[in-house]
Symmetry: C2
Subunit: 271 residues, 2 copies
Amino acid sequence: MAKQNTVFKDAFNRCLKLLEQTANLPSEPELGSTLGISRTTVRAILTRLEEVGLLTWEKRRKIVLRKPVASDYFPTEETDSLSEIIERSFMRRILDGGAQPGMQINELELAREIGIGTTGVREFLIRFSRFGLIEKRPNSHWVLKGFTREFALELTEVREMFELRSAAAFAHLPPDHAAWHELEAIEARHHAILADIENRYLDFSELDERFHLFVHRASKNRFIVDFYDVIAIVFHYHYQWNKTNARERNARALEEHLAYIAALRSRDPIE
Amino acid sequence: MAKQNTVFKDAFNRCLKLLEQTANLPSEPELGSTLGISRTTVRAILTRLEEVGLLTWEKRRKIVLRKPVASDYFPTEETDSLSEIIERSFMRRILDGGAQPGMQINELELAREIGIGTTGVREFLIRFSRFGLIEKRPNSHWVLKGFTREFALELTEVREMFELRSAAAFAHLPPDHAAWHELEAIEARHHAILADIENRYLDFSELDERFHLFVHRASKNRFIVDFYDVIAIVFHYHYQWNKTNARERNARALEEHLAYIAALRSRDPIE
DNA sequence: CGTTTGTCTTTTATCGACAATAGACAGATC
DNA sequence: GATCTGTCTATTGTCGATAAAAGACAAACG
C-alpha cells in the first residue's frame, strides 16, 4: 500500500449522508467544495456510487436511484487518517498508565503495534513533540516525559498568561466587531446546555474548546492560537479518560464561562 | 545510501583535534563519552586512524604515530547532519527574499535542490512548522507565511511575556542558588566584550543567546524554554543576513543587558 | 572486582518506489 | 461566456529496504 484512501472513504460517507437528505447532486466542482476535496476524488466517489447501484451518472445527468442504507457506508475504522489513528493509539498508551515517565519509545515497536510503517510513526512523534510530552535523543530513542503534575502546572502557567492577554485583546475589540455576535451565540449555547444539563453535559467539551479558541483568536497572535492546540489535546484526552463527576464539573464550568463572558462584555480587564 | 555517516566524520574530526593536543588516547568507553558517541563509532574512528597511519591499535595499546595534518580531516561540508543542511538551505531561501509570503512550498523540488530524499524534507518541514513561518494544507502543499512585520510583532509579544515571567522567577531564586554564580560569569563576559568592542562585537550573538536562555530556564517551564528555540533561530538567521550597524547595536545591547543583570540582582521585579 | 574489549543484536536515519489525491488545461455544454 | 467535464500531470502520503549508529552481554584484562 502506498497511500491510504481514507480521504475518499470519508468523503464518500459524507456524500451518502447528503444523499439521505437531497435526491439530486450538484456539479462536480460544487460537490468538491462542499466536501472539501478535489474533483479527482469527487469523480472516484461518483464512480463508486454508480457501481453500488445508487446512481446513474452520465456527464451532467446524475440520477439518484435509491436511498443509501447502512451497508453502503464504509466502516468508520477505515475513514480515519493515519495520523488520527496513531494519535489515539499513542495517547491511550500514555493515559492508560502503561507508560511511565522516563520510558523509552521505540519507533519500530510502536509501528508494529499499530500496524503501520515507521515513517508514519516518526512523523507523528516529531509533530507530537511540540506538546512537550516527549523528547528526542538524536540518533537514539525518544523519551517519554509523561503526563506528570509538573507538566500540568507548566501548561497551566502559560495557559493563564495567554488567556489573560487574549481576554484583554477581546475586550478592546470595537463594538461593531463581528466577534460580539459570535460571543452571543456562544453564550446562548451555554444557556441551552445548562437548561438541559442532565442529558447534555457531555456537549460541554466541544463548546469549551470552541469558546477558548475563539477568545484566543482575538489575540491575533499565531503563537498564542497555536498553543491552544496543546491545551485542547490535553483536555480532550484527559477528560475522555477521567469522567468522574463530569456532570457537576461541567455545570460549574458553564457558570464560570457565563461570568467570564459577562466580564468580557463589560470590558472588565480582570478575568 | 541509507544513512549518512556524518556522526562518524564529525567525531573523527573532533578526535583529530584531540590528538593535536594530547598524544595518548583513553579507553573506548571514555573516548565515547568525551566525543558524545557510542562505542561502535569510537571503534570505527580507531580503525580509520589506523588505516591512515596515525595510530597503532591493538586492544588497550594505542600508540599515536604522528600528529594529524590538514588533509587527515574530513571536509567540513561532509560533517553537517542532514537537518542542518536543510535548515540552512531553507532559511537562506526565505531570507534571501526569493520567497514571498503566500508562496507554495514543494517538497520534491526542495529535496532535489538540496540533493536529498523527500523524507528528510518532510520531516524538516514538520519540525520547522512550529516556528509559525509555514503552514500545511493537508494532502496538498505547504504555504510560506513569510518573515513579515506581523510575524515579528507576534514573536515579540510572546517573548516579552515570557521574559518578564522568567526574570521574576529568576529574581526569586534563593541567594545560594548556583544560578547567581553563573550570572556573574555571564556578566563578566559582557564586560570583556565591551572592553574590546571593536574586535569582538560579533561575539555578542552567542552571548545573547546564552544569556536569555539562561534567564528563561529559571521559569522551569518547558513551554517557555522551548519557545526560546523559536526566538533563537529567528535572531540567528536574521542577524546573519542583516549586519548593518552591528557594532553599535551590539554595544547598546550589551549595556542594556548589564542594566538587566543589575536589576535581576537587586530583585527588582520591573524589567 | 571494576573496566575494557570482542561480538552480536536492535534501532534509527535515509532512500526510492508507488498509489491516492490535488490541480491544470482544453474542449464540450448550457 | 461562464461553467462543467474529460484527460493528463504533479505532488503528497506511506511503505519496505538498507547502512549507520546505538547498545547489550559475556569473556578478557589489570
